[in-house]
Symmetry: C2
Subunit: 329 residues, 2 copies
């Protein structure tokens, strides 16, 4: 990668600094051990409950870490972001806490719960047609018009470092339990969560293997890791995992993940639906499709947990009623 | 009350002893602060997530505290309990951990998830007809036949003390957050959870007001507290709160609660359904009807939270798919 981009790749120290910045603002979410998943998989499973994070997903971490570093002039001009909904809510919530105007570009078919919550957090929402318009162009135009700061959803060092606090907490909370993760599985779209998590985990538990988990048809990260270069998803695919539809790995995230990840795993739509139902029925947790992919891959045996300690990130819980009802039918 | 009964009423010291016994076996469940409930109610709401306790409800605490004190002869003879399902699972799980045979008398119309889980935990289940048969008689007969120990679901000092660890943790975890509860609301059937919780809370935070929460039509505890004596529910009523159908307060629990409780609050079936939906949509938590009554009473304004710190116990999450789907419709 170019030297200027390489200089922007965050490090473990950046994750530590992010943890200090978000302390007292983001929730230190529970790491749940001793669930029926142990008997189910033959391993010792640790669940990181980012479903209980503010706004119902991990995205608040990176958004707060990014926005709290804006200066007074930038804060007045406001921020623009594009997102199917979890980054939207994370940015909107962080912006509201910091008194920053936020404009979010969202697909018109985003889950209604995400659209509603983003509006309720005080953000302006600009809708676009996911099949015909470019959210990147719309967001860039809005940012230029308003002199606002564009807040990327993954390919930004502060966003990656913020999401990495998930990994930091997994390592620390595992240690509190007298455990050390052998594997860590995190849901993956552009790779910010898994990349930041890998920075923290490999910094504290170098022996651990970190895996990206993606929905079938959107496994650009798995294929990119295997190929050693960034490849794209085939256009036109669709998935219930609305949060995980990024077309290709981020430049910065891939620079991290190609070095640090053990590989990528994939879950089918059926496996994701089963994981959502399992979470509700057995774990008593509401998890959205994109947030359940790592659990789905675990339950499908994509990562062999037998005799191992495996941390799994449940990354978000913003699911529409209709879909949750359908999954439980 | 009679002198022999009075001598059996547990104390705060018994709750402390129970906490030592269950440590490392029961989960220290999260106490969740800073949720959207604060804006909703104008108070500072602390949610005690017993939905995440082993077996999906607080009942494991009391059951383990009771069973771990059985001697070798009693353990071999086994235990008998009756329950619509949460005490059933709690006893079954504790019995399995301790290698004790368990027989549970359950109504044939118990939620299927509770029946299934009790069986999966290795207990023998004996069904009875809730409208025509007496579970007390069936359980007493089974216990006599087998020389087994009958494990009551609430009116037992070790059960009450075990459930009281919920209150102990609320007080300790509030302090960790720099907070002190002004009010504590716990769901109430026979009064074991709220009684044990009151012992702990009043022991550590004497100024706090502790409230029982019951479903409409089954507010025997509220009426008993008001009357100063144990009164019964009218026969023939029904409620979606299958876990909260005890006909009258326990003798031991009432001796505690008449001294320590501020009073009782009640939630209608509609309010309970709204609370279950709120928990799933906003909090990302699966809560069963009986486990949502305290939250329902809070959301309905039965306890005025404005400007106060209010701890609310979400006491269980074992809800059938059909009901959860219906509530989300």
């Amino acid at each position: 990668m170019a030297a200027d981009a390489a200089a922007r790749v965050p490090t473990f120290a950046d994750v530590r600094a992010a943890a200090d910045r978000i302390a007292g603002h983001a929730r230190r979410t529970p790491l749940l051990a001793d669930t029926p998943l142990d008997a189910e998989t033959g391993g010792r499973i640790l669940l990181k409950l980012e479903t209980l994070q503010h706004t119902g997903s991990f995205k608040f971490r990176g958004a707060y870490n990014r926005l709290c570093q804006l200066d007074a002039v930038e804060r007045r001009a406001g921020v623009v972001a594009f997102s199917s909904g979890n980054h939207a809510q994370g940015v909107a919530a962080a912006a509201r806490l910091l008194g920053i105007p936020a404009t979010i570009v969202m697909p018109s078919d985003a889950p209604r719960v995400k659209m509603r919550n983003t509006l309720a957090l005080g953000a302006e929402v600009v809708e676009y047609d996911r099949q015909r318009e470019s959210r990147e162009e719309i967001a860039a135009r809005l940012a230029a018009e308003r002199g606002a700061v564009l807040v990327p959803s993954f390919d930004d060092p502060h966003i990656i470092a913020g999401q990495g606090t998930v990994g930091l907490e997994i390592a620390e909370q595992s240690q509190d339990l007298g455990l050390r993760p052998d594997d860590v599985i995190a849901c993956c779209s552009g790779g910010g969560l898994v990349g930041g998590t890998a920075l923290a985990i490999k910094g504290l538990v170098p022996s651990a293997r970190v895996w990206s988990a993606e929905p079938a048809g959107f496994d650009d990260y798995r294929r990119s890791l295997a190929a050693g270069e960034r490849v794209r998803n085939l256009p036109g695919g669709d998935s219930i995992c609305d949060a995980l539809l990024a077309p290709t790995p981020g430049e910065l995230t891939f620079e991290i993940n190609r070095r640090l990840l053990a590989g990528g795993v994939v879950a089918t739509e059926d496996e994701v639906r089963r994981a959502i139902a399992y979470a509700a029925r057995v774990l008593k947790l509401v998890v959205e499709p994109g947030g359940a992919v790592a659990l789905a891959a675990l339950l499908a045996g994509q990562v062999d947990a037998r005799g191992r300690t495996v941390a799994v990130v449940l990354s978000g819980g913003n699911i529409d009623d209709e879909l949750l009802r359908d999954v439980l039918a």
